[in-house]
């Protein structure tokens, strides 16, 4: 069985705010759910499948199904692989729809790390993890571990800080056109390199923003999509994989995209050369560089050259990426960027990205999520979407 053409993304909604003091986290889940349903032209009563991850409070899908008033669910999935969860959820929803388990799947994300409240999902359980006493006691953080991946990539391939900075420059060039973006100022390579070193070799401007926010998606069957007025991009392929420390033999120069990417391309019967636009998870600049190589847009070790000279800038770069400004500039709601990656990919296929960054004749897009840390363990999920099957 394949999910190629088996489901469509009929609704997508990104919360417009980056600080949301006036709403609770469940309220933000509800706000984005209603937003995505309105985008699709559907209502809460149409939803028969619900997906959420570790950011959902309480008992996850059970608490949220009750809060949202979802009373006819025949399918639930709370796959938790950090910020990549929501990209995986789209693939899981398509598979469930293809198997006849459901026909309207709602996926939500929400949280408010900027204004306080509950920490990002999962953090409270890490102390019980079997690896905890071999890592955290040494002063690790998400930042320190991504920085170790950057050091090794630089050592093996000669990647430079200036090449990493090109990625932030491209994101900021796009973000200037997004009125909702958290950071809208265009920055230069020198400004990235002159920003404070937060953890060698990464600078402050190599890092994503921290924002309140949320987003939601609706994945529907072809029959449901056919009855809707809105253009609903079709799901062509999906792949996912965990990557971990592999019994002490971790290779810090690649991500799980090395495995999730080919699975998605094979299912979609496409190659990297077919992709018109890519949403690439950008927790840090190094995340983007390694992922681009792993997905096959260039050879391993060539990422630095690939992103140079505006390689990622839309619409004229080699691979237009993250035209909303990405997690580096626009939004990284509750430290989980996979949702917004899919939403901007949908905008590109609908021709609804900002005119300055819309890719002309955009037919095939990729969205990739990386959840956790490429320095230790993370989830990878890759989606390929098209205007038509």
């Amino acid at each position: 069985m394949t999910i190629r053409g088996a489901a469509h993304i009929a609704g997508a909604y990104e919360h417009p705010l980056r600080t949301i003091p006036h709403r609770t986290t469940p309220q933000i889940h509800a706000e984005v759910a209603v937003g995505a349903l309105a985008d699709a032209g559907l209502t809460l009563a149409d939803v028969d499948a619900y997906f959420c991850a570790g950011d959902a409070p309480g008992f996850g899908p059970l608490s949220m199904a009750e809060y949202l008033g979802l009373n006819r669910l025949s399918y639930i999935d709370s796959t938790e692989i950090g910020g990549s969860s929501y990209v995986a959820h789209v693939g899981h929803a398509a598979a469930a729809i293809a198997a006849g388990k459901c026909s309207v799947a709602l996926i939500t994300l929400a949280g408010k790390p900027r204004t306080g409240g509950a920490p990002p999902g999962g953090a409270g359980r890490l102390g019980a993890a079997p690896e905890f006493s071999f890592e955290a006691v040494y002063g690790t953080s998400v930042l320190t571990n991504y920085a170790m991946a950057a050091t090794r990539h630089m050592h093996e391939f000669g990647t430079t800080s200036a090449q990493l900075a090109e990625i932030k420059v491209a994101a900021s060039t796009h973000a200037q056109h997004n009125p909702d973006a958290f950071l809208r100022d265009v920055v230069t390579i020198d400004e990235v390199l002159e920003s404070p070193m937060v953890c060698d070799p990464l600078h402050r401007l190599d890092s994503c923003v921290i924002t309140d926010g949320g987003g939601a998606l609706l994945v529907v069957s072809p029959e449901v999509a056919a009855g809707l007025a809105r253009m609903a991009p079709v799901i062509l392929g999906h792949g996912e994989a965990p990557k971990h420390t592999d019994n002490g033999r971790i290779d810090l120069t690649h991500t799980g995209a090395l495995w999730s990417g080919p699975r998605a391309f094979e299912e979609a019967r496409l190659t990297p050369a077919d992709v018109d636009y890519a949403s690439i998870y950008d927790s840090f600049t190094i995340t983007v560089l390694q992922t681009i190589e792993d997905l096959g847009f260039c050879a391993k070790g060539e990422g630095g050259r690939f992103v140079s000279d505006g390689g990622l800038q839309s619409p004229n770069g080699r691979l237009p990426f993250n035209t909303d400004g990405g997690g580096l500039c626009n939004n990284h709601p509750t430290n989980r960027g996979g949702m917004t990656k899919v939403i901007e990919a949908v905008r590109q296929l609908r021709g609804e990205a900002h005119a300055a960054v819309q890719v002309p004749d955009c037919d095939i897009v990729l969205a990739h999520g990386t959840g956790g840390s490429i320095g230790t363990r993370h989830g990878s999920a890759t989606l390929l979407l098209g205007r038509e099957a």
Partner: protein, 144 residues
């Protein structure tokens, strides 16, 4: 127990029962690694299960305590117990194994007793142990 580690804190580990032999050995400043008695694979992080063959039969083997830096980073601002420790060096050190075994595990650790700006990938390092309040000790490394 309080020991002078310079500026580096030594937070207590939370040993899991199946890693107890590793932590007991640290009390004597010895490094022991779990090895599968069925397939002879060295296991990291320490646990009572072999991820290579599925066996629960584990023996604990003394390691030389030397290795080489595989990668590192230098936090310029610490968090939690490390709030006042920055800058410090976080690293993956690839351990030397006993008796000619190769492809040692890459373990997360700190490089200490070093000017942080001189640390390099490939640098040879030697184990030191920093005692924790709980009576265990953290495996760290200094330049050889």
């Amino acid at each position: 127990m309080t020991t002078d580690h310079g500026a580096m804190p030594a937070p207590d580990p939370v040993p899991q029962d199946d890693a107890a032999p590793y932590w007991e050995a640290t009390k004597e400043h010895r490094l022991v690694l779990p090895r599968c008695t069925s397939c002879a694979t060295f296991i990291w992080y320490p646990r009572g299960f072999c991820p290579a063959c599925g066996s629960f039969e584990i023996e604990w083997i003394e390691a030389p305590g030397t290795g080489e830096i595989y990668s590192f980073s230098i936090p310029r601002r610490g968090q939690g117990a490390y709030r006042d420790a920055a800058p410090y060096v976080l690293a993956y050190v690839e351990l030397d194994l006993p008796a000619g075994a190769t492809d040692g595990p890459r373990v997360i650790t700190n490089i200490v007793d070093v000017d942080v700006d001189t640390v390099r990938v490939g640098q040879r390092v030697t184990a030191v142990f920093h005692d924790t309040e709980s009576g265990h000790a953290l495996l760290r490394f200094r330049p050889s």
